[in-house]
Amino acid sequence: MSDTIIYTMIALSAIGILAAVILYLVAQKFKVYEDPRIDEVENALPGANCGGCGYAGCRAFAEACVKESELSSLFCPVGGNDCMGGVADILGLEAIAQDPKIAVVRCNGTCDHRPKTNQYDGATSCAVASSLYAGDTGCQFGCLGHGDCVAACDFDAIHMNQETGLPEVVDDKCVACGACVEACPKTLIELRKRGPKDRKIYVSCRNEDKGGVAKKSCEVACIGCSKCFKVCPFDAITMNNNLAFIDSDKCKLCRKCVVECPTNAIIEVGFPPRKVKTDLPPKPAIKKEVPKKAEGKSSEDIKPDNLEKK
């Protein structure tokens, strides 16, 4: 009886030791060297795996960082300059600082500003709607309002405003990963430089129609009158296809164009209220507020996982 137990123990131990030796030898033979810095860099990254850097995830980005000899073409928009500084320290390279950015929705065609001309009852998806036709208003460039951008956001930073039917970016949460920019079939969302105190001025319109046509379909459309272009002291505004564009790198936030715009297509956000001037009609500055979490279907149902869940 005791013999059997002893033989079994010896046999099993021998097999175990043999297997361990074989495994050790094989592991040595096929060992793949991995730069330990990859792990370090990955730990320094935010771990959002959002793809905002252009790579498949944080690990892929870390591998790319280690491979490159300089960091000019690599930037993590979520972590920003602090994070990239950390990465640079690990790799012994020089970090190239970039201005923090934020997504802005360049359409202000709310239900009041832009009357509906027809009713859409197809699939609730901007991509599908735009593959079928120009949209349910007279403006072929404007927001379709089905929330593809909301669905694309991993950071809970963009919500549909049920009253206006337009998406709104939550400044504090937006990390400028660019997922919504990709998702919008009308290319309405743009990544712009985050101004001081989150102040920004932009042309909230993408309408390239001639002035009359644009104005007819939407009250607050850019009509391409070039008034802002002429008044801008910093050459920050360009005119293209009946549409003004403010370069956020050149704009010094002087707000002259906002006053000049006859259709209120240029929007200022985050500024203190203006002092009323003599002959110019007072123009209320848009108060910057964090939009309350949109209720109902469009945000809760469409929205994928939050960042915390990942």
Partner: protein
């Protein structure tokens, strides 16, 4: 046992309300808008400018490439402007605004209704005349006809199929053409046969049009080269590949053209346009359009000039009914809802369908219940539920791998889905994306 295609298919309510209404000529409109792109392929290039006087049948824009078609003025009058106008999708398209003054035709066009039967059998002359007249496929796809008649090198057409199926519910324009213009149609078919150098033509007609089958049978009794094939009623039998399968039993391989099995398919409307082009020297300036709907006062088949506003057609059919929910250009299965009735009739407009409110709206989408009805009815043997999912999730490789490009957009899947899922909407989206990816890969 009647012939039909094997795979899939549905049978929606036929609703051929205007089947016994003779073709009426619509009065000339006050003004027309003629777009330069009314066909698949490159848009035509404008030849006239603002202020020019044009006659009916005058060439106003010439073909912009090999796959393209000429555009002729459908009215006589003055060019008001050459500008953009909204098309049915809401996007602006270039075209000519013409104010109609009178009805003066270009010299050399035979406008009489006399039948001209004899022609010289010369393939090249016929194709050139068809090309010059800007004839495109009038079934709805608007593929330039002259391109179809010139098979690529190494391929030879063996048989001509004439599509008189009209499987779309409601539409009756082809049906009326087969009844009222049968003699002209047959000459058109002979011309097409001559152009293709084939000696056999089949006219495929669904069995719900017995009058057309009998009429054409009588006329072709003495001609062994043309025969009429009655087909079982099943949608989408009018699809090119389905018709070839139904009539000849041949199957067009995935991604290939019908010519690869030796078949060329042409619509009856196109054959009539070919007759007009070759025998009468008359370019494609008018077509038969069905205006129909359950609440429409006077469902009718109208012969209208290209460029006429759709509103004129609706007025002729008794005006827009009060309970209108949707106006569709084309049939209920493949047609497209239009957002305004100011858009013009183009070469591809086969019908205007007005749906009442209670029929117009789509149901709320529900979850897929995995019943695979969409797979059963797909005439191309695809898996629509899967293609919808991968299109929604943007997994384009899988969409391509599952032959999304073979989809003929017949809408049988969406029609049959018990959960009211917008299958075709998503597949069409995926098709667009995958098509772009394939094109980019080739370049």
């Amino acid at each position: 046992m009647l012939k039909t295609f094997k795979l899939g298919g549905v049978h929606p309510a036929e609703n051929k309300l205007s089947a016994n209404k003779a073709i009426e000529k619509l009065a000339l409109p006050k003004s027309v808008f003629i777009p330069v792109a009314q066909h698949i392929g490159a848009p035509a290039q404008a030849l006239v400018k603002k202020g020019d006087q044009v006659k009916v049948g005058q060439l106003i824009a010439k073909s912009g490439g090999f796959v393209s078609a000429n555009i002729h003025s459908s009215v006589s009058g003055k060019i008001k402007k050459v500008d953009l106008s909204m098309d049915s999708s809401g996007y602006p398209k270039q075209g000519f605004y013409i104010d109609v003054e009178d009805d003066e035709w270009e010299d050399g066009i035979d406008t009489s209704s006399e039948l001209v039967e004899n022609f010289e059998a010369d393939s090249k002359t016929i194709i050139d005349k068809i090309n010059a007249a800007g004839v495109v496929g009038l079934g709805g796809a608007t593929f330039p006809t002259h391109v179809k008649l010139m098979p690529p090198q190494g391929m030879k057409a063996e048989v001509l199929l004439i599509n008189g199926v009209e499987c779309e519910p409601y539409l009756t324009s082809d049906h009326r053409v087969m009844l009222e213009k049968a003699e002209e149609l047959l000459v058109g078919i002979r011309l097409l046969m001559c152009a293709l150098q084939v000696n056999k033509a089949h006219i495929g007609i669904e069995n719900n049009k017995p009058d057309a089958i009998n009429h054409l049978n009588k006329l072709t009794a003495s001609d062994s080269a043309i025969d009429v094939v009655p087909l079982k009623v099943k949608y989408p039998q009018g699809g090119e590949k389905q018709l070839i399968k139904a009539v000849t039993g041949r199957e067009v391989p995935s991604g290939a053209l019908p010519i690869s099995v030796g078949a060329v398919v042409s619509n009856v409307g196109t054959a009539l346009a070919v007759y007009d082009a070759v025998q009468k020297n008359k370019p494609l300036v008018e077509r038969v359009v069905t205006v129909t709907g359950k609440s429409v006062a006077k469902p009718s088949n109208l012969l209208v000039r290209i460029g006429t506003p759709v509103q004129d057609l609706i007025d002729a059919a008794g005006g827009l009914p009060e309970d209108t929910g949707k106006v569709i250009s084309g049939g209920p299965m493949m047609g497209k809802a239009i957002s305004t009735t100011d858009i013009p009739v183009t070469k591809g407009t086969s019908g205007i369908l007005i749906l009442p409110k209670k029929e117009a709206n789509r149901e709320q989408m529900k979850n897929c219940i995995r019943c695979t009805r969409c797979v059963t009815v797909c005439p191309m043997g695809l898996e629509p539920y899967f293609l919808m999912t991968v299109s929604d999730k943007q997994i384009w490789e899988k969409a391509e791998g599952n032959n999304i490009m073979d989809c003929i957009e017949c809408g049988s899947c969406s029609y049959t889905c018990p959960a009211d899922r917008p299958l075709l909407d998503y597949i069409r989206l995926g098709k667009g994306k995958v098509g772009n990816i394939i094109r980019n890969r080739k370049n």
